[in-house]
Symmetry: C2
Subunit: 347 residues, 2 copies
């Protein structure tokens, strides 16, 4: 690959376009690959230029594609497709569709990005349902990829099986895990546990060539008992939002502790460095976005609160996704009975 | 009520019979009601007497019902009914069935207690599925009751509606919450969110006389956005086990922080009192057991690791459950269209 053209939704996140521009500059500054990185900034040209002027962007190779509209966090998932065709979201994905960009990243409205990308780019052959996972911190070296986390709430065994295949490929290709351990989220370890859908999924996964380690429980996520945890988007979304609330809950509790008396207040001062470090581990935006798996194109979605560092990570992930042809591997895996071949090659 | 006879599974928990005996003695020592508390210790007579001899039990009014067998944590849920009819679990519930005890408490195998109690005692009229909730700590004054947490994995709207009614009655009668706010666990606030089952449940709850505040998300549990959170036992069990793993995960992370250098180790020493306090908030056994809701009888299930204090709490909860005739209120509520009447009376 001679150059890699990444379209950036400059209007997506809560701190757009500043964090997006800053993140793109960081990506350019620290991009050490042989490939040349070209950034296409999609959004309001005036605002983009104004943000650019605040940074030294001498190493950033970029073009601007002006977009008049913005899809907000309050818009419906179908907003870009139905109404806002002049939005940075619509135009960014259109760049991918027409081959002007190799990938698109956005810290905007997750539902809208997912919906627009799926409708406009279509699915990889063999994929019934595109999916999104999210990384959870764990007690192991690597975070744990839980998927689906909200794209598909009602799932059949075949869908869950596809999530497992795509998740394993993501963990392998983007994180370099050699033979990712796949677990099925359930209420007990025995294969007789869970709903009919879950039991049938267990059977499919057991018969697959994935490194399936069986059922895992809620407690096994933080323990890192599996590298990839498969569940429907209803359960996954609830667990994800619950997990996101832990830091806030702990901060509240520690504050209450500090307020109870002067000594406790003093103790809390000493405890702050440790707390800050651990709260950072619980901070999802640090992981820097996740790909929509199973669509014909590379689209990375990030948290609305994405920091410049997170945007930088998203750009780098998009580059890796393109370079390693993750979509090609997903297509092969889901159209072949011997999945593990495709997972392990090309590490 | 002149006296209240509580049967205690002396062989149930991981530290049986010591914690059970100690807990019963604490309950007797601190029982300040007009009613007289009578404890029936069910289990191996020799072991019970040996444990009793280790404490001053002068204020404990007790009898012993010998049981030859023990249902272990590894036994199947049906073990007591199918094979171990000489177990403390079976005999304890039999005491309730035959009217020799007003309630039964056990820190033993949850599945086995649930199954044995449901089969032997039967359901309250109007209840399709008995349920168990669990309390989660929250940022509000009261913990949040989440139910079901594993008794019923596949639920119809009617079941979820019944859980809501029973949970609201529990929160009202046992915790004194005047008009408990009921939330439906979902992946978004809008009523159009979630599976068909969840959407139909939303409609049922909206039409009910419960104080239904609408959908709540995973993040709303710790925030205490609702007092009672309704979900199926699959989702509830996964969330519960995930929540139970938070303390272990944090301890691991803080340990890693302390190990990184000497200053951090010192800082962690200062942080310990705060951490210990907050970890205690996350410690479920402190809540001291939950009732099986919807069965014809009073049975409280506690964590296997229940401390003497937790056993004491379980005994007191059993007493309150009997005294307030919670089952009678559940029956009335589920056989009447005006539920809130029954929830608010008798506070």
């Amino acid at each position: 690959m001679k150059n890699c053209r990444i379209a950036v939704d400059a209007m997506g996140g809560d701190f757009a376009p500043i964090n997006e521009i800053h993140g793109a500059i960081l990506a350019a500054d620290y991009f050490l690959e042989e490939t040349e990185l070209e950034i296409i900034l999609v959004g309001n040209e005036g605002k983009i230029n104004s943000a650019l002027s605040q940074f030294d962007h001498s190493r950033l190779k970029y073009t601007i594609v002006h977009a008049e509209e913005v899809v907000t966090m309050d818009d419906e998932p179908t907003a870009a497709i139905k109404k806002k065709k002049e939005s940075s979201l619509y135009k960014g994905i259109e760049l991918v569709l027409k081959g002007y960009a190799d990938a698109f990243i956005s810290a905007g409205n997750t539902g809208a990005v997912l919906c627009t990308a799926t409708v406009m780019l279509g699915r990889v052959a063999g994929v019934s349902r595109p999916t999104i996972g999210e990384f959870f911190p764990s007690q192991k070296e690597y975070p744990v990829l839980v998927l689906d986390v909200g794209a598909n709430i009602d799932c059949k065994p075949r869908h869950l099986y596809e999530f497992a295949v795509m998740g394993a490929i993501q963990a392998n290709q983007i994180y370099g895990l050699e033979n990712p351990r796949v677990g099925l989220l359930n209420i007990g370890e025995e294969k007789s546990k869970g709903t009919d859908v879950i039991q049938e999924t267990y059977r499919l996964l057991r018969e697959s060539n994935l490194n399936f380690i069986g059922n895992v429980e809620g407690r096994d996520i933080f323990r890192g008992a599996a590298d990839v945890v498969v569940c429907d988007g209803f359960t996954g979304n609830i667990i994800l939002k619950f997990a996101e609330s832990i830091a806030g809950f702990l901060k509240f509790r520690f504050k209450k502790f500090a307020e109870s008396n002067f000594i406790n207040k003093l103790l809390m001062l000493f405890a702050m460095p440790a707390l800050k470090k651990v709260f950072k581990d619980l901070d999802y935006q640090e992981y820097g976005g996740v790909p929509i798996l199973g669509i014909n194109g590379v689209v990375i979605i990030g948290h609305g609160k994405s920091s410049p560092r997170a945007i930088q990570n998203m750009i780098y992930k998009a580059y890796q996704f393109v370079k390693k042809d993750v979509n090609g591997k997903i297509e092969k895996a889901l159209n072949s009975p011997t999945i593990s071949e495709h997972i392990e090659q090309d590490l």
